[in-house]
């Protein structure tokens, strides 16, 4: 429990496409919906309808502005949840063994009945992927919907994490990243998937796909533009007289 497995049979994880994500936060809502009423303690809210609402979420979507050298600024939506790191620092700091990484599929989980709520794992995680539930006093984190992906009571298409199932843009992909022939590994290969904060040495399993280069604005963008040339380049008549007079002042 206390130490990390030397080897995991599979490496289940997510691949998140920063090009496709539209920032709708549907994954945030479906994650909260599924995980508040299934595995483990509910994800509580504090003062949800008051002036200062706060609550526990396992997945959150940031938004960043990037300005390419040769184009206008772009908005990149950035969903962030547990990356199920191979070298997960949150696991080894745990004093009770409540945090563990499964040797069969590499999912990082919290055994809530052993968690004392010291918060050290949340401090050890560079990504802010763990949140201490204020009502329950135990650490909550993404379970990769471990109660869906192996659940034979669900239709097969639902045996993926809730965030993946719900994403209307198809920006979230789930699969085995240890299998080079899996669709998800191919996607990482083709699109140049990358790790978050590789310098922290956590070896995240989840990968992110970069935004694709956007079309440039060099060429003609509107086929009607040639037909819509300004009709009066040289102002005449009364308005022309005003224009000339005002220009002289």
């Amino acid at each position: 429990m206390t130490t990390l497995p030397t080897h995991t049979e599979t490496r289940l994880g997510l691949v998140i496409d920063l090009d496709t994500c539209v920032g709708c936060h549907a994954c945030v809502v479906s994650c909260k919906g599924w995980n508040t009423q299934n595995y483990g303690a509910p994800l509580s809210d504090q003062n949800p309808y008051g002036a200062d609402p706060s609550g526990t979420f396992l997945n959150r979507v940031h938004s960043y502005e990037v300005t390419p050298d040769d184009g206008p600024a772009q908005l990149v939506h950035f969903p962030k949840s547990c990356l199920h790191c191979e070298d997960a620092p949150c696991v080894t700091v745990c004093p009770t063994g409540a945090s563990y990484k499964r040797s069969e599929d590499g999912i990082v989980l919290v055994n809530e009945s052993d968690c004392i709520g010291c918060g050290l794992c949340a401090w050890a995680c560079p990504y802010g992927a763990r949140e201490l539930d204020a009502a329950e006093g135990v650490m909550k984190k993404c379970t990769l919907c471990v109660d869906r992906i192996y659940n034979e009571n669900l239709p097969e298409e639902d045996r993926v994490p809730a965030c993946v199932r719900t994403c209307p843009a198809g920006a979230r992909h789930f699969g085995d990243l240890s299998d080079p022939n899996s669709a998800i590994s191919a996607l990482v290969e083709q699109r140049g998937g990358f790790d978050l904060m590789p310098e922290q040495g956590t070896k995240p399993v989840n990968k992110y796909l970069p935004p694709r280069p956007k079309d440039t604005w060099e060429a003609e963008t509107d086929v009607l533009a040639p037909f819509l040339a300004p009709v009066a380049e040289d102002a005449r008549g009364f308005l022309g007289w005003i224009d000339r007079t005002l220009s002289k002042l």
Partner: protein
């Protein structure tokens, strides 16, 4: 990082208590009888108050005993064991001193060593965190042990030692602040997101969350310079000046109160000034 009062009390009080146990343990001519009893009551009261405060920090204090299970990998678990063993061995050393006027020197030495190991383990809980560059450095255990030794010497009445150790701790503290200010991190918002020169545009939430409360704490860092001076003044300069005067017990008490207040101010800064790389996602740090 959020400067939780429970953690400030835990690290300063247990540091003082274990520092006191160290000096009582290595003392070749230790107090005996009632005097020893009073010294050990104070040392145990400080250590246990500190450990009790750390339990208050837990979301589930009732399960605190589970923290003894993972000593193979977890510094927090090792700290729990070290404190338990140190308190036990020092009690075995104290009992003959108090009741039989007998000193069992090897027990005293091992108790002293265990007390220092406990303080070192407490420091390692913070030192191990690569995510907090200000803490992730060998100087953190040095700092914690310095405070324990100087405060412990003061509490144990080792005035000759305290008059040197307290200013030395002040220097160590000053060095840690200056070095910590310069210590950067290779993590940036760019490495955190994989994007080219990103700017944090919008946070995922409108209110605050556990993450922002706990790890993106920024309140009153603007007073950091003044607080550093106050910490040095109360923690090192005033107690040293008092010790250099012809001391009586009342003044020694003023020196203790001043030193503890200074140490607590410094410990507040230890947490408040420490920045967590997670803050990058919020465009902070």
């Amino acid at each position: 990082m959020h400067p939780a009062p429970s953690l400030i009390a835990f690290t300063t009080l247990s540091g003082l208590g274990f520092g006191m146990l160290f000096w009582l343990g290595v003392d070749a001519t230790p107090p005996t009888g009632w005097v020893a009893f009073v010294f050990y009551v104070i040392a145990y009261a400080l250590s246990l108050a500190g450990l009790g405060a750390s339990a208050l920090h837990l979301g589930r204090p009732s399960r605190a005993l589970k923290a003894f299970t993972q000593w193979r990998s977890s510094w927090l678990s090792r700290e729990a064991w070290a404190s338990l063993v140190a308190l036990t061995v020092n009690a075995l050393y104290a009992a003959p001193l108090v009741f039989l006027d007998q000193r069992v020197a090897p027990l005293g030495w091992s108790g002293a060593a265990l007390a220092l190991i406990t303080v070192g383990s407490t420091a390692m809980i913070y030192t191990q965190l690569k995510t907090v560059p200000r803490w992730h450095h060998w100087s953190t255990p040095v700092l914690f042990v310095s405070y324990a030794l100087s405060g412990g010497a003061l509490m144990a009445g080792k005035v000759d030692l305290a008059v040197w150790l307290i200013p030395l701790t002040g220097l160590v503290q000053g060095g840690c602040w200056l070095a910590g200010d310069r210590r950067g991190t290779t993590s940036t918002l760019s490495t955190a997101t994989g994007l080219h020169a990103p700017r944090a545009f919008e946070a995922p939430h409108t209110g605050d969350t556990y993450l922002t409360r706990e790890m993106a704490f920024a309140v009153a860092r603007k007073h950091a310079e003044k607080l550093r001076l106050i910490a040095l003044l109360l923690g090192a300069i005033v107690p040293t000046a008092i010790l250099l005067l012809p001391v009586n017990h009342l003044f020694a008490l003023v020196a203790v109160v001043s030193h503890v207040a200074g140490a607590m101010t410094a410990r507040w800064l230890f947490f408040a000034e420490a920045k967590h790389v997670m803050g990058l996602y919020y465009g902070k740090i």
